[in-house]
Amino acid sequence: MIRFVLIQNRAGKTRLAKWYMQFDDDEKQKLIEEVHAVVTVRDAKHTNFVEFRSFKIIYRRYAGLYFCICVDVADNNLAYLEAIHNFVEVLNEYFHNVCELDLVFNFYKVYTVVDEMFLAGEIRETSQTKVLKQLLLLQSLD
């Protein structure tokens, strides 16, 4: 299962943090810093997977943003790697060429996108068409 999802920029600023298990605030901050330290030192020759405490991080870099998913060690790496990409494509469509600022100014909408695609630490919906349709429907509501 997914333990948490983080979107961070190169400087380590968190653009999204979604937790699927209980951590206290200090622990969250520690995790955020550790993930940043682990992920940013890696280059293109490295894998997109890093062992992390008793879990692993699957991550992918898009321009200056790192999308990181922390999952159980036995989970399928490539499935989560593509889940990240699927999510990014949805964001891109939804925000029309998404950039970091979109995530900052619309942080509360990003949570909605996440909840449509991931829930309770599992993949909820994978069809981009269905997710976007639902998001547009919500968008039209007052």
């Binding site: 997977f49 405490r53 790697l81 829930l119 919906e125 981009q128 068409t129 007052d142």
Partner: protein, 911 residues
């Protein structure tokens, strides 16, 4: 501004976020935030009722401030208010605030649950989803209590919208994870299984996650999911790439759902039904076939999602471990990936092959890739890939390739990353031992390990090499020669010195005939490094020296001079000092025969599982959440056990020291409170006051050696004896018995690291002199161990204190006037003559301390009755201190002469 935010954006929020972003410093940011907080607070407190939009905007600002890392201590109520708005955007912000700032404020929980309840029953799918997402995100116990019963109904109801079913399934999954006791299985479970047939693949995706999780805990309940999952999988993998429309991702049909179905199937053994089994095999073959087809797209997304399914299929094949052809095909496929240009694929192939190597069907197939894997070790740039290569080499190692693999690992170790050195050391040590045909190779390998990565060689590793050398006499001479040579290096690792010191101490004689390694040269070589070592190593070397005195009488004076030197005899470290003193004394007074017996060659160690293996297993623990129990065990585990050579050497020789010494009495402070003076049955209180009321609770700990068994005694009405196995090996045939004491038989087996409790019910049959002896027998490895422990049970434990008046006392005193009945002792005070301490000691002895009985107030007078099975013995005592002379006179009068005698001995010892 992004396109989507037009029209619905909250301008005030956007302005605020811009302001924050424009802040030049942390201080400016804090200032801006405080200004905003003050503004929001005044709005919330103001007289004017806020409209929904403003409330939403301010709550959203608060949320933003919180996400920046600042504490938020208000606004919860306003957020809860938003939940009951009938506008989606307001509700959404309310739920988001609640989900992010979970708060166990009980008043609010009730209100929140109320709002959720309304939304769940609203029949509005958007609102239902918002509330379900909130439950799934928070997952608190209170929510589980309120909704766990309701959600299954929503999930399986015929008229529930698909998107709500998806949310309900995962919401239930979350509640099952956080409060499984509140999510009982029921008639809904079979209907959930049928969701695998649902038209909507999103529903199937969510349901598969739920079923896979529930099936792990109750496989029987969800057994029917196997055939449905196989059917579904089959339809997906055989579909044309366009059939599934929305669910086709870069030409791969429903990759995530396929992965989930394959994982669900890994909860079960291969299907028994031949038709289902055949269909599954077809699916797996199709997936393997597709891997060989030319890609439908050059995009990485295409190959990644295709391979995600492939790797999961291989996991299932390995899990079933029953179809040799599939296993070999899987292995060949992974072999191709080993040389793929994608680092991700090489990594995953190495990882997956590791599990494949342990299957008997594919072990040989995996071995054919050895050269590629060794090459990966040398060329991969990512340390985690190299780590996987090490894992795989370890997994594929057998007798046929052990020498090659160990050599390559040693090679790699020279430049290996620090983070993985310890693990490689453990692996090399295990492989070298496991596949050693020739033990000289083993010895060379371990010494190489110490040379290359001495800092990473743990105790387990060097203990083990010593055990093996001791157990195999064909390698002892070679080992002695090799360590001697290795020690010639100007800078050698301390671990090498430990191994060298130990082996030369045991087998130095085997190479002493060579003038280049004569006894004196051996000694000088070791001693030249002595002063650079840590205390434990020096202690070990001192033991080597005494063994040298036995092996090489000709250098005895040289060694005695060393032991006698101030730096040894007066060493600040008590352990070193004690060893020097004892060894010197031993070498002076013991005859050659005694010395030869005491320092005889070590007997073979019992064969058992390597402690290194245990360590590696712990290191590579199961990849789940760290289990606190396990961590604790790990911390407590005492691994030195019988493998500690120094302890073991003294241990096997010296017969157990006298039991009084074993008990470690005569120590320092006590935690034993004085017993309650009045209770009649306080026969066993303060059992440790045998010699001295200031002895510690008896942790039976011999001075050195015998690190095998720990015996602790405690006293409560009964006596509880705790036997702790301090080694990592079982003690078999464990028994303990005391003469004339009723014991419940102890469990015959004491696991390594475990503690056993035995209860002794003790009754005094008649008065006695000697303390009862507890005989402990057990089999540790191959050898039968006998330990005799004197129990701290003395006659005074059976006292009942008796209060009486001065008149009564002297009347009885006169009645007990025959010479045999009175025993008197005059002795010098050994401790300070403090009144309160003396009183406590007398009470602690078990008698009543009688005030204002003796005409001289400085004297102490006591009375009590000793209860035995047959009689009662009345006892009177009088203690007269003389502070000037620092002397005491103790007089005891009892109705039985032996009792007077014994009590006088016992009590006089206390002062």
């Amino acid at each position: 501004m992004p396109a989507v935010s037009k029209g619905d954006g909250m301008r005030g929020l956007a302005v605020f976020i811009s302001d924050i972003r424009n802040c030049k410093s942390k201080e400016a940011e804090v200032k801006r935030i405080n200004k905003e907080l003050a503004n929001i607070r005044s709005k919330f407190k103001g007289d004017k009722a806020l409209d929904g939009y403003s409330k939403k905007k301010y709550v959203c600002k608060l949320l933003f401030i919180f996400l920046l890392g600042h504490d938020i201590d208000f606004g919860h109520m306003e957020a809860v208010n938003l939940l009951s708005s009938n506008k989606y955007t307001e509700k959404q912000i309310g739920y988001l605030f609640i989900s992010v700032l979970v708060n166990s404020n009980s008043d609010l929980i009730r209100l929140i649950n109320n709002a959720i309840k309304n939304d769940l029953s609203s029949r509005n799918p958007t609102f239902m989803n918002l509330s379900l997402h909130c439950i799934a995100n928070v997952g608190s116990r209170e929510m589980a209590e309120a909704f766990a019963a309701e959600i299954p109904h929503i999930l399986v109801a015929g008229d529930t919208m698909d998107s709500v079913k998806q949310s309900a399934a995962l919401c239930l999954l979350r509640l099952n994870r956080t409060s499984p006791d509140l999510v009982p299985m029921g008639e809904w479970t079979s209907r959930v299984v049928h969701l695998l047939n649902d038209q909507h693949l999103g529903v199937v995706t969510a349901a598969t996650s739920l079923i896979a999780t529930l099936a792990q805990k109750n496989p029987d309940e969800f057994k029917t999911s196997v055939s449905l999952a196989v059917a579904r999988l089959s339809r997906i993998v055989t579909s044309a790439s366009t059939d599934l429309q929305d669910y086709t991702y870069y030409f791969v049909p429903a990759p995530w759902l396929s992965v989930k179905l394959l994982r669900l199937l890994q909860c079960y053994p291969p299907p028994e039904d031949a038709a289902i089994r055949g269909r599954l095999t077809e699916c797996l073959e199709t997936i393997l076939n597709k891997a060989q087809e030319p890609p439908k797209s050059k995009k990485i997304q295409h190959s990644n999602s295709k391979n995600a399914v492939l790797f999961e299929a291989i996991s299932l094949i390995i899990h079933h471990d029953s179809e040799p052809t599939l296993l070999v095909r899987a292995c060949n496929q992974l072999g191709q990936f080993l040389q793929h240009r994608e680092t991700n694929l090489r990594y995953l192939a190495l990882e997956s092959m590791c599990t494949l190597a342990s299957s008997e069907f594919s072990h040989e197939a995996v071995k054919t890739h050895i050269e590629t894997v060794i090459n990966a070790l040398k060329t991969e740039r990512d340390v985690s890939v190299r780590q996987r290569a090490v894992d795989l080499l370890y997994a594929m190692c057998d007798r046929s390739n052990a020498q090659q693999i160990v050599a390559e690992m040693l090679n790699y170790l020279e430049n290996a990353d620090y983070s993985i050195r310890e693990e490689i050391v453990l692996k090399v040590a295990i492989l070298a031992e496991k596949y050693a045909v020739d033990y000289t190779w083993y010895v060379d390998t371990i010494l190489n390990l110490i040379r290359i990565a001495g800092d990473y060689v743990s105790e387990e590793v060097w203990y083990r090499v010593i055990q093996i050398v001791i157990n195999r006499d064909d390698v002892q001479g070679y080992a002695a020669k090799t360590v001697f040579e290795a020690l010639q290096a100007p800078a050698c690792h301390e671990n090498l010195l430990k191994v060298g010191g130990y082996i030369l101490g045991e087998f130095g004689n085997l190479i002493a005939g060579d003038p280049r390694s004569s006894p004196l040269i051996q000694f000088n070589l070791l001693h030249s490094k002595f002063h650079l070592c840590s205390v434990p190593t020096r202690a070990l070397l001192l033991s080597t020296y005494i063994k040298f005195i036995n092996l090489f009488p000709e250098i005895k004076p040289t060694i005695q001079d060393v032991l006698r030197s101030d730096s040894q005899m007066k060493n600040a470290d008590v352990e070193l000092q004690q060893r020097a003193v004892e060894y010197l004394r031993l070498s002076c007074i013991a005859s050659t025969d005694i010395l030869a017996t005491v320092l005889e060659e070590m007997p073979p160690f019992p064969e058992r599982e390597s402690s290194i293996l245990a360590k590696l297993k712990k290191k590579k623990g199961p990849g789940k959440l760290p289990d606190i129990e396990e961590i604790r065990k790990e911390k407590n585990a005492n691994i030195n056990g019988g493998t500690e050579p120094v302890n073991a050497s003294t241990n096997a020789k010296a017969s157990p020291p006298p039991s009084s010494d074993l008990l470690g009495l005569g120590g320092s402070s006590t935690q034993n409170a004085a017993p309650p003076a009045s209770t009649g049955g306080s026969l066993l209180v303060d059992v440790f006051s045998e010699n001295n009321s200031t002895t510690p609770p008896g942790s039976v700990r011999p001075r050195r050696g015998r690190e095998l068994l720990q015996v602790c005694l405690q006293n409560l009405g009964r006596m509880y004896v705790f036997f702790g196995n301090k080694t990592s090996t079982q003690f078999l045939n464990f028994s303990s018995a005391v003469l004339n004491v009723h014991t419940k038989p102890a469990d015959p087996t004491v696991e390594g690291g475990a503690q056993l409790q035995q209860i002794l019910n003790i009754e005094c049959v008649t008065d006695f002199m000697e303390a009862p002896v507890l005989n402990i027998q057990f089999r540790y490895g191959g050898t039968l161990q006998n330990i005799a422990v004197k129990l701290p049970i003395t006659l005074n434990k059976f006292f009942q204190p008796t209060e009486m008046t001065s008149q009564d006392f002297f009347q009885r005193w006169k009645q007990l006037s025959t010479p045999q009945q009175e025993v008197q002792k005059i002795f010098k005070a050994k401790h300070s003559m403090d009144t309160e301490v003396t009183k406590a000691k007398i009470i602690g002895f078990g008698v009543a301390l009688l005030d204002q009985v003796d005409p001289n107030p400085t004297n102490y007078v006591g009375a009590g009755v000793i209860h035995t099975k047959t009689t009662q013995v009345g006892c009177l005592l009088r203690l007269e201190p003389n502070t000037q002379a620092q002397m005491y006179r103790l007089t005891l009068r009892t109705s039985r002469d032996t009792v007077s005698q014994r009590l006088c001995e016992l009590l006089s010892d206390q002062f």
